[in-house]
């Protein structure tokens, strides 16, 4: 019990450190937010005309998926941040302190969860300005936002694992793109899956980004055809399995790598 509360305190201290750094170095957050805003507006106005979804404005279809993309891209920054921390002497001090072993990594992940929350709220604001409208009430919308943050946290553990494995900032950056691009584009995020070649549809159908986008659409839009017609239950079940699976695999792997820094 005492051990548990010490571990929670350690995680909170490390979270505070990371959040403080985000506030002190706002450039990274600001440019990240700007990039997302530019992408949102570009995709909406460039593709929006070409991709018609039965007379429904493209932003209704696109924004929910874009929120999923925001956390996917966001998690690659975690790799870079972890690799940066490992390249400095401070990690030796942390490892020589009596703090809980997972605290260094977990603090980072929680701080990133807070970062995603801010980004998502900003994206929704920009989406509303570009014509997006909620059609299913407030509570489902809030649930959707919480589920995207959870998805972001699950993905962040992949980012943690890559960061602690490559230990180099540039490599971490590139390594992130390798898994992020297929995940984002081979999904229902930008275009309906039915328009893809057959073989790619298999991947797109089990892609967690497709499930996440489906859940958000269903919760934001309700019975609107832009929601894709698939049931909320199916996508919700899929994304929760993905979240649990990613964390069950990547949390132990990451913590093991952390302990193995002593090898």
């Amino acid at each position: 019990m005492e051990k548990m509360s010490a571990a929670i305190s350690d995680i909170m201290v490390m979270t505070k450190r990371n959040v403080t750094r985000y506030i002190r170095l706002p450039q990274l957050l600001v440019f990240n937010a700007m990039l997302n805003v530019v992408l949102l507006l570009l995709f909406n106005y460039v593709f929006g005309g070409a991709i018609q979804k039965g007379g429904i404005p493209y932003i209704q279809y696109f924004l929910p998926g874009f929120l999923a993309q925001t956390v996917v891209f966001g998690s690659t920054q975690t790799s870079v941040g972890i690799a940066e921390d490992l390249s400095k002497g401070l990690i030796d001090r942390f490892r020589s302190l009596p703090m809980a072993r997972p605290a260094f990594l977990t603090g980072r992940v929680i701080a990133d969860g807070i970062r995603y929350a801010l980004l998502i709220l900003l994206m929704i604001g920009v989406g509303l300005a570009a014509g997006f409208r909620f059609e299913n009430g407030l509570v489902p919308a809030i649930v959707a936002v919480l589920l995207v943050i959870l998805f972001g946290v699950a993905l962040t553990w992949i980012g943690v694992f890559i960061g602690i494995s490559v230990k180099n900032q540039e490599t971490a950056q590139v390594a992130g793109f390798v898994w992020v691009f297929p995940l984002v584009f081979a999904s229902s995020l930008y275009v309906p899956i039915a328009t893809m070649p057959h073989w790619l549809q298999y991947f797109a159908n089990v892609n967690p980004v497709t499930s996440m986008a489906g859940v958000i659409r269903a919760l934001f839009l309700g019975s609107n055809p832009a929601a894709g017609g698939a049931s909320l239950a199916k996508y919700l079940w899929q994304i929760l399995v993905w979240d649990a699976g990613l964390m069950l695999v990547f949390i132990p792997l990451s913590v093991r790598r952390y302990v193995q820094l002593a090898k």
Partner: protein
């Protein structure tokens, strides 16, 4: 400014061994960083690991502070085994690595409070300790500034302060004064000398012979992953060559061999020399009278002297006598001063 701290801090009530190392080895690929190292460090003393770059000092510190697992051998720190009880070791040690390990984006005060909280001192105690230490290390005025704005010396002081937040029983300092200007170095020596009260132990590494001589109660000389000699500064000085020595430097180092020939009779097989620099040292059994003898002999051979002095033996002499060559990095460490 700095008092000689040798031999006055090993107290009789500190009976235990703070650190016991038995046959520790560590390889990195094909390189043998540590080869079967064994040593004991008693409580309440300053122990210095002295050796050139690449001799394995940092590797040994990393093993003893639970950052690195050795390939072979065992070690106990504060009575706990480094493999089985690493978690019990961490609360009682403090580590200052070779480079200041502080968060540049936090303030000095935030850094120390964070360390206190990670030692589980609680918020109130962490704040008090942070305030005290900023005061002690003359950082009180800079406490609310981000570390990014600190000078190298200030970072070093903050780093040392961070290791002291939880008043650990055993302190590991890896080259604590490397890269500091002489004034900061003397200041740090003063602080380190006071750390051994209440049976607290300091284990430090250094490339500076002078530093080990000033600070340490016991010194281990390390080279190429081996410990080649252990003793008190007095023992090490006594072991190799007479008490007082004549030290001289030739204007022309090329004449070193010739000079050694001329001085052979005085040197009695206990001369040391560095041909590259024209440095020669020899025992001065006869007291000051030997100086005129040295001058006369060299003068007769037409060899000009740049320096001539009668000195107490230093660890330089010891290092030279034991290893057969000078401490390799004296030249490049001088640059960093």
């Amino acid at each position: 400014m700095v008092s000689n701290l040798n031999g006055n801090s090993a107290k009789s009530d500190c009976a235990q061994d703070a650190i016991i190392v038995e046959g520790i080895s560590k390889h990195f690929g094909k390189i043998k960083a540590l080869d079967n190292i064994s040593l004991n460090v008693g409580e309440g003393i300053v122990f210095a690991l002295l050796g050139p770059n690449g001799s394995g000092k940092t590797t040994l510190i990393r093993i003893l502070t639970t950052l690195l697992i050795p390939d072979g051998g065992t070690a106990r720190v504060g009575g706990f085994d480094i493999r089985q009880n690493a978690a019990s070791i961490r609360p009682i040690i403090g580590l200052a690595g070779q480079y200041p390990a502080v968060d540049e984006d936090l303030t000095g005060k935030e850094n120390l409070e964070m360390i206190g909280q990670l030692y589980h001192l609680g918020n109130a105690k962490s704040r008090t300790r942070s305030g005290e230490l900023l005061e002690t290390f003359e950082l009180a005025d800079a406490g609310n500034r981000r570390v990014k704005t600190y000078s190298g010396g200030m970072r070093r002081r903050l780093d040392l302060a961070a290791t002291l937040v939880a008043e650990p029983k055993i302190l590991f300092l890896d080259e604590p004064t490397t890269g500091l200007d002489p004034r900061s170095r003397f200041g740090l020596w003063d602080v380190i000398g006071k750390l051994t009260k209440d049976c607290h132990t300091v284990f430090l590494t250094t490339q500076y012979l002078e530093e080990a001589d000033r600070l340490a109660d016991k010194i281990a000389i390390m080279e190429n992953g081996h410990i080649i000699r252990v003793g008190t500064p007095a023992e090490l000085k006594g072991c190799c060559g007479g008490e007082t020595r004549v030290k001289l430097k030739l204007v022309d180092p090329n004449q070193t061999k010739q000079a050694l020939e001329l001085l052979r009779e005085l040197g009695k097989d206990q001369m040391n020399s560095i041909e590259a620099t024209g440095d020669i040292s020899l025992p001065a059994d006869g007291g000051t009278a030997i100086l005129s003898d040295v001058v006369r002999r060299l003068d007769a051979g037409g060899i000009q002297l740049a320096e001539l002095a009668l000195t107490q033996p230093t660890l330089d002499d010891v290092f030279l006598a034991i290893t057969g060559h000078a401490a390799e990095n004296t030249a490049d460490t001088k640059k960093t001063m």
